[in-house]
């Protein structure tokens, strides 16, 4: 039976000498080298046989969608509480203290009240979580009755005794971590600038050289054209690319460092693993909304989330800068190099075994 990769480590393929693979590999001069690039629009095929679970497919665009971001948060909390009542296990929130997990925690407390939230939700956190959001810690958590679990052990923690909730996908809904680099290259004003071929290629040029800059512009523009709404600005360009092409990567990156993974399959993930911001409501919100994500400056990125958290634990939070807080959960771990469509966690990879000749890079 043919195997497909749900998640792969690109560095395992970088020494494959063929032209199409090397063309594809130039991507990792633009984005982090450990990103599993799988295009949900189906436009760009990498030279690896890839697939994705149904739950990660791009939803059909609903132009009538009109829920606010806050509505989506509260609806999601209610869904999780209902799941919890059915399964009769605690909700275990991966609380890094970052913007995303803070938003989730605030949503739970707003919906349930602190006392009820303390009973239903456990917090997987570390000392860094305290540093990341000291206001939440000092004003809410430090004197609360939340059960606190050491985040350092979660990689072995894939049982059926709780629902694990994480804050992935919010970056894909809102924008892209590439914004920071774009701003460093151009200026804060560049995010709100209408994208042009010249602008995008100019950004890519120092990273990949002229040939691959043109190639990537060509490929990305074809993905951009699949957006149901016009993509106008540089920020919207990179948000759509992130939303469509990094979705699988973020879903699986924590799963990839699980040590005890025998439980993991579609059914398990559907019941016991929830990346909060990944459901249809949030994706529709993102596809329908370009005003609530960023206000033209890097500092305003995820302003709507910061506002939700700041309203709850103090206005100082509005000055919080986005920085990756996930690295601690991923650092010094042994990752599966490939997770295939049967949830085999593969640590030794033969690149030839996964090669896909019908790919988008062969013609360049």
């Amino acid at each position: 039976m043919t195997k497909y990769a749900y998640r792969y480590n690109p560095s395992k393929f970088m020494h494959v000498k063929s032209n199409d693979v090397q063309n594809w590999m130039s991507l990792y001069n633009i984005i982090n080298y450990n990103v599993t690039f799988i295009d949900r629009t189906g436009t760009v095929q990498v030279p690896i046989r890839t697939s994705m679970p149904v739950c990660l497919e791009l939803p059909k665009y609903d132009s009538n969608f009109n829920l606010s971001y806050e509505d989506c948060c509260q609806i999601k909390v209610r869904e999780l509480v209902k799941s919890q009542d059915n399964l009769d296990v605690p909700i275990r929130l991966l609380y890094s203290g970052g913007i995303d997990s803070s938003t989730i925690l605030v949503s739970f407390i707003k919906e349930l009240g602190l006392a009820e939230a303390e009973k239903r939700v456990q917090l997987v956190m570390s000392v860094e979580s305290i540093e990341e959001n000291p206001w939440m810690w000092e004003r809410v958590l430090r004197r609360s009755n939340f059960q606190i679990i050491n985040s350092e052990i979660h990689d072995s923690d894939w049982g059926k005794d709780r629902i694990l909730v994480g804050g992935e996908f919010n970056d894909q809904l809102m924008g892209s971590d590439i914004y920071k680099d774009v701003v460093n290259w151009g200026s804060d004003k560049i995010l709100d600038t209408p994208w042009t071929q010249q602008l995008i290629i100019s950004y890519l040029l120092p990273k990949v050289g002229p040939y691959h800059a043109e190639m990537w512009f060509y490929l990305m523009e074809r993905i951009i054209k699949k957006s149901p709404r016009p993509v106008v600005t540089v920020a919207e360009w990179w948000q759509w690319i992130n939303f469509t092409c990094k979705w699988s990567s973020v879903y699986f990156r924590l799963i990839a460092c699980s040590r005890d993974n025998k439980n993991i399959d579609d059914e398990y993930l559907d019941r016991y693993y929830c990346q909060f911001f990944g459901d249809n409501n949030f994706q529709q919100w993102s596809m329908n909304n370009n005003t609530d994500k960023i206000k033209g400056t890097w500092h305003s990125y995820k302003w709507i989330c910061k506002k939700l958290v700041a309203d709850f634990c103090g206005q100082e939070y509005m000055y919080k800068v986005k920085r990756g807080s996930l690295w601690r959960l991923l650092s010094n771990k042994r990752h599966a190099e490939i997770i295939d469509n049967n949830y085999n966690f593969i640590t030794t990879v033969d690149p030839e075994e996964w090669y896909e000749p019908n790919n988008s890079f062969a013609k360049f």
């Binding site: 560095s11 982090n32 080298y33 350092e152 052990i153 010094n332």
Partner: protein
Amino acid sequence: MDYSNEGVLYFNDSGDGQLIALQLKTGLIDSEIRLAYSSTPGYDKLDRSKLYDSTYHLQIISKKNGTIVDLPENSHNPSYLYRKNLVKYRAPLIEQLVNTIRFQARTCSPDPWIGFENNMQYVISECDPDKEIWHNSILEYSHINDIEPKYAYREIKLQIDNISSFKMRVYSFFKKFMFDINNVTDEQSAIQVRKNMNDKFFRDSWV
């Protein structure tokens, strides 16, 4: 030092020098560690970078209180030369590895005193949260920080659990990479090990 001819294989006068030398020794049969003092005759000949040079040879003469001299040419035996060559590839990797784990271990425990988590571990072990029995230090912490003892216990336990788990993981990778380094025999394998270390300690956690 090479046991066969007392030839100096490696020199390091940093705080981690002994640790690095010990790790090097684990992968080099018939090597020993010797101490040299700044008052030792010939001490100024010791130079870590120069010792990587295949033409620079020193000897530490135990019978002359560790005096350091040029290694006579007739003592340049093949096994000594082979070990010297291995040190050239392995020592920089071990230096990088030791520096990395020191840095990583320190970042996860920002307390004023290195190893303070051991003190905290003792305090925690003397508590029984189910019976609300608290060590005096927990009561002190609780009082000074204006939180209840059960929250003080939780807070300190989180800290030491984090430190302990993280350090153990870092140590696990330390052992793994020491095994890899001790199998390095040439430049190519050294490059590969360095790449693997960089990937595991840094790049794999880029998000």
